[in-house]
C-alpha cells in the first residue's frame, strides 16, 4: 500500500479535477447587448445574461452605464426571464468617451460588467461633458460562490486550462526523465537505462499528442482555426518531430548497444535544442498564448483563486499519471525483451 500512495493520489487528483473542472458553473456575466449603439434621446436595449438569475429578486436588479465619470441609470426596466432584461436609457448629449461600460448588479449574482458595451452614435464627445448626478445606490455585494471567471472570448472553454496545460507540464517532466535516463545510459552503458529512456520518450510523445489535440480544439473555439502561426505551436510541432526522429534513429540500427549510444546522444542534444525553443523563444517573439508578447498571463487576470484550486491539483495529478504510465510501459518493454531472449535460446 505504501508503495502505491502516489498512484492513488494522482488518480484521485485527476478525478477531482475532472469533477470540479467540468461541474462547477461559470460566473454569471452579461456577454451580449443589442443594439450595441446608443443615440441621443431615448434608446431601449436588450441585455442577455449568462448563468444569471434576474427573476430571483426582480425588484433589486440594478443596471447602469458609465461613461467617464458620468453614470446613467435606466428610467424604465423590464425583466423578461432569468437571462434577459430590457432597459430604457436616456443619456446626455455631451459625453466624455465614445464607449459606455455596462454594469448589472443583483443580490443573487453580484456585480457583472461588460466593458465597452455600447458605442455612441450621434452624441458629442467633449472635454467638458454634461454633469449627471450619481444614481447608483445600495449595490449588493458579491455572493462568493465557487465558480470560474466568465471571460469574453474564452467563455466555457476556460475549463480546458485544467486539461491542456497540465498535459504539457507532464510532457516536459517525462521528457526530462527520458533525458536523465539517457545521461545515465551514456555514463554506465547499461541497457536498462536506455530502455527506460525510450519508454519515457514514448509516453512523452503520447502526452505531446494529447496536448496538441486539446490545444487544437481550444484554438478552434477561441482563435478561430485548428492551427495558427505561433511560436509555441511551432515549438510543440518541433518537439514532436524530434522525438519521432529519435525513434527512427533507434529503430534503424540493428546493434542494440550502438543504438543505445547514438539514441542517447541525440536525445540529449535534441532535448536541449527543444528547451531553447519551447521555453525561451516564445517569450522573445509575439505569441497568441497568455503571458507572452503583451498578452495577459493567466496568473494576472484569468487564473483566480477558484481556478488555482483545480489547476494545481490537476498539474500534480497528470504528472503522477505520466510517471505511472511510464512505469507500466517500461515493465512491458522489459518483459518483451525477456521473452525475446528466451525465444532465442
Amino acid at each position: 500500500m505504501s508503495k502505491y500512495w502516489w498512484k492513488i493520489l494522482s488518480a484521485l487528483l485527476i478525478l477531482s479535477s475532472l469533477i470540479f473542472g467540468l461541474r462547477a458553473p461559470l460566473a454569471p456575466g452579461v456577454p451580449k447587448v443589442s443594439p450595441d449603439r446608443i443615440n441621443y434621446g431615448v434608446s431601449q436595449i436588450t441585455i442577455t445574461g449568462y448563468n444569471t438569475h434576474f427573476t430571483e429578486s426582480p425588484d433589486d436588479v440594478k443596471v447602469w452605464l458609465t461613461n467617464g465619470k458620468a453614470t446613467f441609470c435606466p428610467y424604465e426596466m423590464a425583466i423578461v426571464d432569468n437571462t434577459t432584461l430590457r432597459a430604457t436609457f436616456s443619456v446626455t448629449e455631451k459625453i466624455a468617451d465614445s464607449f459606455f461600460d455596462l454594469y448589472v448588479n443583483t443580490p443573487y449574482d453580484g456585480t457583472m460588467y461588460l466593458p465597452s458595451a455600447l458605442m455612441q452614435s450621434g452624441l458629442e464627445v467633449s472635454l467638458n461633458p454634461d454633469d449627471v448626478e450619481v444614481c447608483v445606490q445600495n449595490i449588493a455585494p458579491n455572493p462568493g460562490r465557487f465558480n470560474f471567471p466568465n471571460q469574453p472570448i474564452l467563455n466555457e472553454t476556460i475549463r480546458n486550462i485544467f486539461y491542456h496545460v497540465p498535459t504539457w507540464f507532464a510532457m516536459l517532466f517525462i521528457m526530462f526523465i527520458s533525458l536523465i535516463f539517457s545521461v545515465m545510459n551514456l555514463n554506465t552503458g547499461k541497457f536498462k537505462y536506455d530502455r527506460a529512456a525510450e519508454s519515457a520518450a514514448h509516453v512523452g510523445l503520447l502526452f505531446a499528442f494529447i496536448g496538441l489535440g486539446t490545444g487544437s480544439v481550444w484554438a478552434k473555439f477561441t482563435w478561430g482555426a485548428w492551427w495558427v502561426s505561433d511560436p509555441r505551436l511551432d515549438g510543440a510541432a518541433i518537439a514532436v518531430l524530434i522525438y519521432l526522429a529519435y525513434f527512427i534513429l533507434k529503430s534503424s540500427i540493428n546493434d542494440k548497444e550502438k543504438a543505445a549510444r547514438l539514441g542517447g546522444v541525440y536525445n540529449i542534444f535534441a532535448f536541449m535544442m527543444m528547451i531553447v525553443f519551447v521555453m525561451v523563444l516564445p517569450r522573445m517573439n509575439d505569441s497568441l498564448h497568455p503571458g507572452v508578447g503583451g498578452n495577459p498571463a493567466f496568473s494576472q487576470y484569468d487564473l483566480d483563486d477558484n481556478m488555482r484550486m483545480v489547476f494545481y491539483p490537476a498539474v500534480l495529478g497528470w504528472i503522477g499519471m505520466s510517471v505511472w504510465i511510464f512505469q507500466i510501459k517500461n515493465r512491458l518493454e522489459k518483459l518483451k525483451f525477456k521473452q525475446l531472449m528466451n525465444e532465442e535460446i
Binding site: 551514456l186 518541433i238 518531430l241 524530434i242 550502438k258 541525440y266 523563444l281
Partner: protein, 221 residues
C-alpha cells in the same frame, strides 16, 4: 589540444583540396539550386520570399556539406585518428573546418544569388546586419550539423537520416536566422536587431558545448 585541432583542420583542408571533385560538388550544388530558383522566379522583389528562399537553398547545401565531414572517414582511418587525437579535438576541429567551409560557401552563394535573382530587396539593407547574419548563420549551421553528421555517419542510411535528425534540430535556429536576416535586409538598425544576433550566437555556443561533451560517447566503438 590546440595543436591537435590545428592538425585536424589542416588535414581536412588538404584532403578537400586534393579531392577537388568533392569541393566542386558542393559549390555546383549551390549554384545549380540557385539557377533552378532563377529559372522558376526570374527576379524576386518581395523581401520575405527573397530572404527565405536564400536560406532554404543554403540550408540544403549545408546539409550536403556537413554530411560529408564524417562519412568520408573510412573505418580504418577513423581508428587511426582515434589513436592519434582526443575525441574532443576531433569534433572541435571538424566543427571549425565545417564553419570555414560554410562561410566560404554562404558568401559565394550570396554573390551568385544576388546576381541571378536581383538586388532589388537589398536597396535599403543594413549591411553590417546582413554581414553578421551570413557569418553567424554559417557558423551556427556548421556547429549544429556537425554533431548530427557524426550521428548519421554511424548508421547505414547516412543521407536520409541526416535530414530526419537534422531538420528538427536546426529549425529553431533557422527561424531566428530568417527573421534576423529579413530585418537586416529591411534596413532595421543593428541596435534593434541585436537580440536575434545574440540568440544565434548563444545557440551556436550551446551546440559547441554539447558536441564537446557528447562526441566522446559517439567516437568510442
Amino acid at each position: 589540444m590546440l595543436s591537435e585541432i590545428k592538425a585536424i583542420i589542416l588535414k581536412d583542408l588538404r584532403m578537400e583540396w586534393r579531392q577537388k571533385h568533392a569541393l566542386g560538388s558542393i559549390f555546383l550544388y549551390v549554384i545549380a539550386s540557385i539557377f533552378v530558383a532563377y529559372m522558376g522566379f526570374k527576379q524576386i522583389v518581395d523581401v520575405p520570399t527573397w530572404n527565405a528562399l536564400f536560406w532554404i537553398i543554403v540550408l540544403f547545401a549545408a546539409f550536403n556539406a556537413a554530411s560529408r565531414s564524417f562519412s568520408v572517414e573510412t573505418s580504418g582511418r577513423r581508428l587511426y585518428l582515434f589513436t592519434l587525437a582526443r575525441p574532443e579535438s576531433v569534433i572541435v576541429g571538424k566543427m571549425l573546418y565545417n564553419a570555414f567551409l560554410l562561410l566560404v560557401m554562404v558568401f559565394a552563394s550570396f554573390g551568385a544569388y544576388t546576381v541571378m535573382l536581383g538586388t532589388g530587396p537589398l536597396a535599403e539593407a543594413d549591411w553590417l546586419g546582413v554581414f553578421l547574419a551570413l557569418t553567424l548563420g554559417a557558423i551556427g549551421l556548421a556547429f549544429t550539423l556537425t554533431l548530427v553528421s557524426a550521428l548519421a555517419a554511424q548508421t547505414d542510411n547516412n543521407l536520409g537520416l541526416m535530414a530526419v535528425l537534422g531538420l528538427p534540430v536546426i529549425l529553431p535556429m533557422l527561424l531566428i536566422l530568417i527573421r534576423f536576416s529579413k530585418n537586416a535586409i529591411d534596413g532595421i538598425a543593428w541596435s534593434q536587431n541585436a537580440g536575434y544576433g545574440w540568440q544565434l550566437l548563444a545557440i551556436s555556443l550551446m551546440s559547441l558545448v554539447l558536441s564537446y561533451i557528447l562526441f566522446p560517447y559517439l567516437w568510442r566503438e
